[in-house]
Symmetry: C2
Subunit: 366 residues, 2 copies
């Protein structure tokens, strides 16, 4: 059963010429299927090579898709009556989730009909269902969610993982996160030899929890064979810095850091708007600086980097923010499209398999 | 010995009229004693009621203080030849730190000569020495470092603790953090009934680590007697929000969140400067908006909220950023002055003592 899963999902997605099919869970986001279909339409308008399989209430989806000319003939609707809510516990969904749009969306990746799946739904349930249906890659103990973080690096982003797949991570898990994150950076950001750092409360050798010191030894030893550079411990302030490309941490800490960063950027944005609304002079200044401010806004807009990637499964699943609007959904779809087309999934699987065979500490992690 | 310490340091600081004496460790910061003395001068210029006892290399301090007219006659120099470096381990400092400027600075609080101490030095060493010399308040298991966080609340700040005193915290520790944070919010921010939240990866009841669920029960039960409101789990995005005043977390997570928030604000600031430098038009706009932008910059400037407060000791110690410049040091000194003058230390001690006697879970924490 597991072998068959692996064979199916590691096969290249069936595409016609350059066409890539993305499986979309239309339900379960905070803004409902209208925002999701609007995001699909935004993507379809920009990208002629994209097709969709969209999962959810058929009547509603038919109505929403019918309104969007750009989706005509590019959208396969699959009825699923059940919806995974934000309140559902992952354990319930694993037992009773097979009639839901989320389950159905993952199924399209499992069968190979779609190159990747996107959902705005409940993160815990999406990870639980993805693990159940797609199975973990051989050699992976805990899959992780990786996010993109706006940074001062020339390519504009750093990668952080895990940002919430699992609230625990021991040293061998952190090693796997380093390997998977480095692979994502190589294939997704085009970096030959990504620089990996381990998130801690200080950069000094003696600081932090015991498992971080163990993880540091494992990651350092795996750097050469894993084709990355290990830069040592990094701190919260280094997340947007140019001294690192991949930041490794457990899912509890990573999730807090991700949401703190987003919250801070949002606060600064709010205060900036207030500042410019303050006087006639500043309103006039805002008009003059509009282009520059829009460029800045685009650079730090959390919707632009929307899309956590599940790493370590036999198939690509993208978790979009629950509150994503059309622009956010479209960003997640774009990420899914890029990864599906690049063949990233196969290269990541090969890297993890190789590392599992050669890296120190791999026995404990397999 | 412990009893004598308590008596000494819980006595009101000896001041002449409205004068408050602050003990300053001039060494050990990344920018050396020149930045610290410049910060003292900045504070002295703004505040006629402040006096200093400054600790460090006497010759150098005499030279630096001598250059600042505003410090003439307001600054008592105490020679200490040793310096605690950022690389020193707390355990070493506890054994051999008694000739250092940090030790000497804490000593002035212990003897009651100064109302509070400020240091830019090594956080771990400062906490270890403070615990050794000032001792924990009766009923406190783990002291905590509390920081101020720019927020959308009317008073402009939220309080977060622990941001790095201890990388561990179990449920009874988190309860104490809630009590101490609420007391600080009442006395420091003037809030009658502060709203306390517990930092987690989601606001749903079932999410997060087991100790957070236990802590939630303890904090909820202590809300009435502790004169605060418990708002439940909060996420990273809530740190700058108006739905909470005090955010409780362990020192590992809090430290990562603090530095992530600072790093993000700094990134946005850098990008904003770049955006305005982009074209002639935007440069002109920046000139027009100067006043508004300066106001914004002041609001989010991390130097303005510089100063982590050590809570849970028999005496007030403020940890300033290691990289603090004169403005940062001056902000930490202002905080020390405000707290010393308000009698906060005695009120906090009374609150913790009362809670230790009445709150559920207090036995485990004492």
């Amino acid at each position: 059963m597991i072998d068959r899963d692996v064979t199916l999902s590691s096969a290249p997605p069936p595409d016609r010429g350059d066409v890539v099919v993305i499986s979309v869970d239309a339900m379960g986001g905070d803004r409902g299927p209208a925002a999701v279909v609007a995001g699909m339409a935004e993507s379809a308008a920009k990208n002629p090579d994209i097709r969709f399989i969209v999962h959810g209430d058929e009547a509603e989806l038919r109505r929403l898709v019918g309104r969007r000319k750009v989706l005509a003939g590019r959208c396969d609707i699959r009825h699923a009556g059940g919806v995974v809510t934000m309140e559902d516990k992952p354990s319930q969904i694993v037992r009773k989730g097979d009639g839901t749009s989320m389950w159905s969306a993952i199924e399209s990746v499992k069968t190979g009909e779609a190159g990747a799946a996107v959902s705005c739904g409940n993160t815990g349930a999406l990870m639980a269902l993805s693990m159940l249906r797609l199975r973990k890659l051989p050699g992976v103990n805990r899959p992780a969610i990786a996010c993109l973080w706006p940074s001062l690096n020339p390519h504009g982003f750093n990668i952080m993982l895990d940002v919430g797949a699992d609230i625990r991570a021991d040293a061998p898990d952190l090693l796997q996160y380093a390997l998977m994150g480095a692979s994502y950076a190589r294939n997704g950001l085009g970096l030959d030899r990504p620089r990996v750092g381990l998130l801690n409360v200080g950069t000094e050798e003696h600081k932090g929890r015991a498992e971080l010191k163990q993880a540091q030894d494992l990651i350092m030893a795996a750097a050469d064979s894993g084709k990355f550079e290990y830069v040592g411990f990094v701190e919260g302030g280094d997340l947007p810095s140019a001294r690192v490309d991949v930041i490794v941490t457990d899912g509890f800490t990573g999730n807090i850091a991700l949401k703190t960063g987003e919250g801070t950027a949002k606060l600064v944005g709010t205060l900036l708007k207030d500042a410019f609304a303050n006087s006639i002079m500043s309103k006039f200044a805002a008009l003059l600086a509009m282009t520059s401010l829009k460029r800045l806004q685009k650079r730090i807009d959390p919707r632009r980097v929307n899309g956590g990637i599940f790493l370590g499964l036999n198939g690509t699943v993208i978790k979009s923010h629950g509150s994503a609007d059309a622009t956010g959904v479209s960003a997640a779809i774009k990420l899914a499209f890029t990864l599906a087309r690049s063949g990233f999934q196969d290269r990541l699987a090969a890297r993890v398999a190789q590392a599992a065979a050669s890296a120190p500490g791999a026995e404990a992690a397999s």
